[in-house]
């Protein structure tokens, strides 16, 4: 095809040279006009092609309405979810730190008292103790043992608080899984748009041709059934009135059902 055009052009130029030599001005002008016109025609053709491609690209944006939906609804949702994750991890960290800060002084108190009692006990064993010192030691020992039970109870309580605070990993994990799912979906749509866009730029034979085949259906249906999992409640994302917020309300709902 290109060869043919080149030969054609060569023919015309040879003819042009002949006409110039022969002084045939009229023919010279005609050939020049012809060549220029052909050139203009190609330019218009190229412009037409670009316009069509631009139009198709615009259409592909419109066709991919899920992208609009993602940008309008899901991205703000995801931001809210991520912010909620930050506040949940902060709460869990504070719960843990409070429990640790509440436990440390108890341990320090027990350590100091037992150290003191041990010194007094050593004196007693070495018979370096007066009767009055012995009475003091007995009183201190008695109060130490008495407090020990309450102190260990508080330590246990604080440890249990640390244990329960770790539930944030499950709860935030479930929220993050949803955000990751959304990012994956977004990535799929965007890379399809980019692919479609680049398929229309010339001189790239490696890019597959344009396709408007619909993407795989969404895995999160628009109207979830009663058994669809939603993950933990996220304020502002899941309507508060649809959700039961504490165990007491769960219990009363169940008891109204005969449980």
């Amino acid at each position: 095809m290109e060869n043919l055009e080149r030969n054609n052009l060569l023919e015309r130029i040879k003819l042009l040279a002949e006409c110039i030599e022969a002084g045939n001005e009229e023919e010279v002008n005609r050939i020049l006009d012809d060549i220029l016109q052909k050139r203009e025609h190609m330019l218009f053709q190229e412009l037409g092609r670009l316009t069509r491609e631009f139009h198709d690209a615009l259409n592909s944006f419109r066709l991919d309405s899920r992208v609009t939906e993602l940008a309008r609804d899901n991205i703000p949702d995801a931001k809210q979810r991520l912010n909620y994750v930050i506040s949940m991890t902060e709460q869990a960290a504070n719960r843990t730190l409070n429990a640790v800060e509440g436990t440390t002084p108890i341990c320090e108190k027990i350590a100091a008292q037992s150290r003191m009692l041990r010194e007094q006990w050593a004196n007693f064993i070495q018979r370096k103790m007066t009767a009055q010192d012995f009475r003091n030691m007995s009183r201190e020992l008695d109060s130490f043992l008495e407090n020990m039970s309450a102190d260990t109870d508080r330590i246990r309580e604080n440890l249990s608080e640390v244990l329960m605070a770790q539930d944030y990993q499950d709860l935030t994990g479930q929220i993050l899984q949803r955000v990751i799912f959304l990012v994956n979906e977004m990535e799929g749509h965007l890379s399809r748009l980019v692919r479609n866009g680049s398929a229309q730029t010339p001189h790239d034979p490696t890019v597959p041709p344009l396709s408007f085949a619909p993407l795989a259906p969404k895995t999160i249906p628009d109207k979830p059934s009663a058994e669809e999992a939603h993950g933990p409640f996220v304020p502002g994302v899941i309507p508060a009135e649809e959700v039961i917020h504490n165990q007491d309300d769960v219990d009363s709902l169940l008891s109204s059902l005969g449980f």
Partner: protein, 124 residues
């Protein structure tokens, strides 16, 4: 008492295991979703099932239904411990035959209360 704890998050399984141990149950097995739990239940002699709802593979509600549909497991007590807290979900779980439902985040007292209540019912 042999208990199976099913949750896809290992941290939550550990928390539940620790709480159960505090209450006095130490024979605990773990599974990370319904499809790995079901064969364990079918081939084992579990007395109690604690399960999450939202899990990849087979979710807790499906596991509950499979348990109720199995002649061997139909009477196994099932406690759901989950962040799923929509009214319709709790009703769905009740209809599927759950014995107790705890919403996350929960505490040790709630777990003990629900266990006691389930056992009390089973005895009567």
């Amino acid at each position: 008492m042999k208990i199976l704890v099913v949750d896809d998050f290992a941290t939550m399984r550990r928390i539940i295991k620790n709480l159960l141990r505090d209450i006095g149950f130490s024979n605990i097995t773990e599974a990370d979703d319904g499809s790995s739990a079901l064969p364990l239940l079918q081939n084992g002699d579990f007395d109690f099932l604690v399960t999450d709802w939202n899990m990849p593979g087979m979710p807790g509600i499906e596991l509950l239904k499979a348990v109720r549909a199995s002649p061997k497991l139909a009477k196994l007590p099932v406690l759901m411990v989950t962040a799923e807290s929509k009214r319709e979900q709790i009703i769905a779980a009740a209809q599927a035959g759950v014995n107790g439902y705890i919403v996350k985040p929960f505490n040790a007292v709630t777990l003990k209360e629900k266990l006691d209540k389930i056992f009390e019912r089973l005895e009567n």
